[in-house]
């Protein structure tokens, strides 16, 4: 019997990596804390209606469902923490009318993996800011996201920024029905110019040309100028391009920056700016975020919101393993005499390992040992 076999896309995190994951998580949460983000820890299971909004098919298919024998209702195993945090802001913290900053770190479970190399149990770390619609809030969250990635050890980050209101504005102005909008959305996500041309064949100008232009509007900040000339001047588009230019001005020189007006992949619930982080070595985005105003409406309180999240497991997968810290060996026969010294060393943060079998330095993970001398306990090299 192969009872040790794990399900597909499910893996243990083994010693060295587990420590690396844990310290990266702690560093990120500490960084969030000092920026005023309060930690929340929502439950693993909830009623399905709270976890997945009715029209979010993609999240629905990713969510494991189970029956609650206590209530007879259906529960879901969370596949995304963002809706849970939105529920907390909308409902439990509803007496707060100002800005609320929340952060979290926890496992989510996906019934279907995001990709062939994705874990079905991502470790989602993220931060959300509620109650302020200004672009300053988006910049705050982008800064937090970049810092979190750098803390995790990622270098040469490229930030790609888009704006979903530009697409939504065009859809509304061209009066497209929901099905056509969905098909266009899918074709835009893959910059599938040929399919977009087919789909918009019957759409009135100037919207037809605008949809055809969208997949070509990506690249450095200078692209925003050509976007201005190629897209009609709808209020949503004016505002979107203005916000993107503001982002360009604020972040120029601080991070490798690019823009993409057809990048809509971040999420179903987004309403405004979208930001995605890439880095050499990862074949997909490392962290995603954006503005999702009114996400709390279905919980009874609509208000501005922006945030980001990343999968710490995916992050650690590519990073070079760090050499774990080496410890101090103490031969077990030296106890109980050495007890006080061992306790003292451990209190300073040293790893102190009791050696029962007389093992090698390699096996014990130690590079020093504690020995008794005429002058008391001394630490000497151990090979």
């Amino acid at each position: 019997m192969r009872n040790w076999l794990l399900p597909e896309h499910i893996a243990d995190i083994l010693p060295a990596t587990a420590r690396q994951v844990e310290s990266a998580k702690a560093a990120m949460l500490e960084q969030f804390r000092t920026a005023g983000y309060e930690l929340v820890s929502p439950p693993l299971i909830e009623y399905i209606e709270a976890l997945v909004s009715e029209d979010d098919g993609a999240l629905d298919i990713k969510t494991f469902k189970l029956d609650d024998h206590l209530s007879g209702r259906q529960l879901g195993l969370r596949a995304d923490i963002t809706p849970q945090v939105a529920r907390i802001d909308a409902h439990l913290l509803s007496e707060r009318t100002g800005v609320t900053r929340l952060c979290y770190a926890g496992s989510v479970v996906h019934a279907r993996p995001n990709g062939l190399m994705s874990s079905r149990e991502p470790l989602q770390v993220g931060a959300e800011l509620y109650g302020y619609a200004g672009i300053e809030a988006d910049l705050e969250v982008i800064g937090l996201m970049l810092d979190a990635l750098r803390l995790g050890g990622v270098e040469n980050i490229r930030l790609d920024v888009g704006h979903i209101a530009i697409f939504r504005g065009l859809v509304a102005a061209a009066a497209l029905d929901a099905t056509s909008a969905r098909e266009l959305f899918a074709a835009l996500q893959s910059k599938d110019g040929a399919t977009i041309r087919e789909l918009v064949a019957g759409v009135a100008e100037p919207y037809r040309s605008a949809f055809i232009a969208l997949p070509e509007l990506y690249g450095p900040a200078s692209m925003l100028e050509s976007a201005r000339s190629r897209l009609p001047s709808l209020p949503e588009i004016e505002l979107g391009l203005m916000q993107l230019s503001a982002i360009a001005r604020a972040l120029q020189g601080k991070v490798e920056l690019s823009f993409d007006l057809a990048e809509l992949r971040s999420g179903f619930y987004h309403t405004g700016l979208l930001f995605t982080a890439y880095a050499p070595g990862w074949s997909d985005a490392l962290a995603r975020g954006g503005r999702y105003d009114n996400v709390g409406r279905r919980f009874g309180r609509a208000r501005p919101a922006t945030g980001f999240s990343l999968d710490l497991r995916d992050l650690i997968r590519i990073l070079p393993a760090r050499h774990p810290a080496r410890g101090i060996r103490v031969a077990a026969r030296q106890l109980p005499d050495a007890s006080n010294e061992v306790a003292r060393l451990r209190a300073t943060g040293e790893i102190v390992v009791l050696d029962y079998l007389g093992e090698s330095a390699e096996a014990l993970g130690c590079d020093r040992e504690l020995v008794a001398t005429s002058e008391g306990w001394q630490i000497v090299p151990f090979h």
């Binding site: 990709g115 790609d160 910059k191 040929a194 050499p280």
Partner: protein, 213 residues
Amino acid sequence: MKLTIALSKGRIFEETLPLLAAAGIVPAEDPESSRKLVIDTNHEHVKLVIVRASDVPTYVQYGAADLGIAGRDVLIEHGGDGLYQPLDLNIARCKMMVAVSNDFDYEAAVKHGARLKIATKYPQIAREHFARKGVHVDIIKLYGSMELAPLVGLADAIVDLVSTGNTLKANNLLAVEHILDISSRLVVNQAALKLKYSTIQPVLDAFASAVPA
């Protein structure tokens, strides 16, 4: 910056050569005669990897190659998740068709509401096509010699690529329905387009300007 392009041997490779030439890329060897799977080019930083046509999207999706050229048929079957498909290259053109044996009355069978057995290498395209028509089908996935299936009673119809129609004719089959026009697309890894923009965009532009009409 390094650039890896995934290609399949045969027709796609032949018809891609002029596009590569437009981007100033010339392969150092001919994959038909070489056994190498990684082929150098006249540029130090550009490599070609030779893979099966149906594997091209997988290599590009996971970043093993930055760019690739794959048929629309292959992309639909793969799902195309996580790939950009910015350019229809208008090469390796053919049609995805439904074909039946000369003596099978397809119209009547469909009208009748019969449940059809369909042999195909393209289950995704076949399933989607018949679902849109409102016809119940059982899909039999085959890997080659599709034309045999109706002749030996394995299937009522086949869904397959047709370029000249000669194979159908030689086996007493008749194309009865046109599903899709197929041609090859340029596919790009999404992270690569962002991270290697300045290397990839000129190649994309060169390809776009050289696409045959």
